[in-house]
Amino acid sequence: MGILTANLKHLYQRRGVWFWYVILLCQTPMILMPNSDRYLGYLIFSFFAGLMAGGLQKDVLVKPFSFCLPNHRRIPRTFIFWIGGVVNFILGCVFLRYPGLSYPYILLIILAGGFVGLTAYFYGVYSSFLALPTPAAGIIPLLAAGIVIFKWDVAVQNVVVSQPTVMIIVGGLMCVCCWKLLGRDFLARKYCGKLIMGMFDSWDLTKIEKYRQARAERNMTDRKVKFFEKAQRFFLGKMERYDFMSRGRYIWGNIYMTFGKYFGFWNMWHILGFFALIVFMILFFGFMGPRENDKRMIGILFIMPAFGMFSLDLMSYQTMVFPAGRRDKYYSTLILSAVITMLAGLLVLAVTGISIFLETILPEFSFRGGPMLRYYGMDIGDFYIYWLFMPVTLSLTLAFPRTKLLLKIALVMVFMQAWIVYEIVSKQNLIDMIGPIGVLGIIAFCWIDFLVVLHYVCMRRSLVSQGR
């Protein structure tokens, strides 16, 4: 078996690749776009295919054994070009639908379309294969904005149809550059044995932890060290207010352990990024306004914190034996969940307040003659949704500690469906449908379910899984 064949086998042997196939599958509507005069929707597919191909090959180069394999160092380039060529020239066939094109001119168009696809593909390759340490995907929103507002894709599409030879020449030159770039020897040396989070490493918990530690160490500053010293003094002070071996001491210690685990990695950019994401969501969903059912789309923000719970490990560090029995773990996890729910709830309330305020000050406007855009804030009456979803995701996190990453990925995939369900459910307000007592009853039921799951996990189940 040749080296290239062995590499191509990754396309079906790696579990993570199948997840990417689902992502690619989700892009197929963009390729076809029936009843549309836009044909370059497949660039998104090409970009994701490039991400996948580049990511796969970076994962291979990172393994030290691949550095020593004869003739292996330039195989990634061949692999990437093979996949890119096949995928994009097939995708270029969407121009067969273009009206008024005759044979053999259409072949030139398909070829030109393929080269345009290769541009997006190589940008994906660049993001996952060459850019370190994380994909340089920052340009995507800009491109998306350009496509939505300025219809850049239509401009490119017009060039493809009217000047295919120009596109073929430019695309060919780009391929030559990429061929040279991907064939450089230093890439193999650069990646060999390096601790890099690959696109398919979401399942490798040990590697994730190691990577996070290395990143955290890189991000460590004097100010951060001082902050953690202060935090430790605070929590140790709280612990010392309780007797040795008491539950109170463990509860404070557990809160410290859990929060430290997550906040220990954050730097100023993470915090700014987090708030920037919140601001983006407040604006984005606010301007999406109400849909046909008069329900404001920004209401989805009530569910967001619950999604965040999937990345949380409520019962961490179980192989470290502290003087705390299962009952102590039950109470400490309960209190930890309550603290997290309260903090996230306060954040949701703050976001609700901001969105309501924005609704009062943001004027209605139209962009380049488009429809009028009006901002809609969150409806405080929907706050119950938060209390409904939190216990459900907390229970799932507890019940499936090892599979939560997979679960999270699966949930991202069904996110759009959840959105639709939300819309269906909210055609009529749940409170109007079953009354406040009924809603309270459902919320109480969800929390009781959480308590039952928590009790089972703490008192009846093995605290660590096999192999940990």
Binding site: A216, L236, T319, F322, P323, G325, M459, R461, S462
Partner: protein, 297 residues
């Protein structure tokens, strides 16, 4: 030593992970003051057994009592007397080593700061390093310190020295020897480095496929198997040698290296005299005994 009730009692404990029978009807008593060597191949159930003792795993069948309390219901009072080191166990990765020591010590009234300082100096532990970036050896040293710092009555060491360099391993054994001076301490040590284990253990447990093959004192195990060299004083040895329970026999002309089971030195010497042979006994190492026991089962 060996006074009072056992500090760990397992009765008919079984545990299954899917298709794998991790523990199979285990009956075990661990007496106070014992230093137990837990031996077995990978996947033989050693870690699973240890985790039952501290209640991390719950038995599918049977019962495990630790300090006379059901392991599922251990309270801080009992857990505060147990130190546990796991080969690849979790530590608070995001802390500096010093922060981690301060944090863990905050749980124990009995934390011995003098021992901590001595250990840090002896084992050359850097307090300013981030725990998550420690090498496996350094990490293991920190884990050991956290487990012994409060001088637990029951110290459970699951592959504690696998990542330590030879010098650190020697220091670690010295440390264990120091701990066992106090007869109130019980240590269970699971390790593949049997040459280390045999220096400290007084009791051996040999496991295979979730079952206990041997549960006896190290001395009795050593007495059970005897290896000797038999040298003929005139001519070659007879084709059939009159040793019952022969485990192995390598003959070469007038000389043979023989391992026997359940025999005494006196009886073997008498038989050697009958054969007009010279006999020289050589004690078996724990590793050799382990291999014999496992291969014969």
């Amino acid at each position: 030593m060996k006074n009072g009730n056992p500090i760990v009692q397992m009765r008919s404990v079984s545990k299954r992970f899917g298709e794998i029978q991790a523990l199979d009807n285990i009956d075990l008593d661990i007496q106070r003051g014992e230093i137990i060597g837990l031996l077995g191949a990978n996947g033989s159930g050693k870690s699973t057994l240890l985790r039952h003792i501290i209640g991390l795993y719950l038995a599918d069948e049977g019962r495990c009592l630790t300090f006379d309390t059901d392991a599922a219901e251990l309270t801080p009072k009992e857990l505060g007397r147990i130190g546990y080191v796991h080969q690849e166990g979790e530590l608070l990765e995001w802390m500096k080593v010093e922060q981690l020591i301060r944090y863990v010590s905050a749980y124990y009234k009995t934390w011995n700061h003098q021992l901590e300082e001595k250990y840090i100096a002896d084992f050359d532990i850097s307090l300013t390093d981030r725990v998550g970036l420690l090498s496996p050896g350094q990490r293991q040293k920190v884990a050991i310190l956290l487990a012994i710092g409060f001088e637990p009555e029951l110290l459970i060491l699951d592959e504690p020295a696998s990542a330590l360099d030879p010098i650190a391993r020697g220091q670690f054994l010295d440390l264990l020897l120091g701990i066992i001076q106090d007869e109130n301490h019980t240590i269970i040590i699971s390790s593949h480095i049997l040459s280390d284990v045999e220096k400290v253990v007084d009791h051996t447990l040999i496991m295979r496929k979730g079952a206990i093959l041997r549960d006896c004192s190290f001395d009795s195990l050593r007495e059970e198997f005897i290896r000797f060299t038999l040298s003929s004083l005139n001519g070659p040895l007879p084709a059939e040698l009159p040793f019952a329970n022969t485990v192995s026999c390598e003959k070469s002309g007038g000389r043979a290296i023989i391992t026997v089971q359940n025999d005494t030195q006196e009886m073997l010497e008498a038989k050697a005299r009958e054969l007009n042979c010279e006999i020289e006994f050589r004690p078996l190492s724990l590793e050799e005994i382990y291999k014999i026991v496992v291969s014969r089962e």
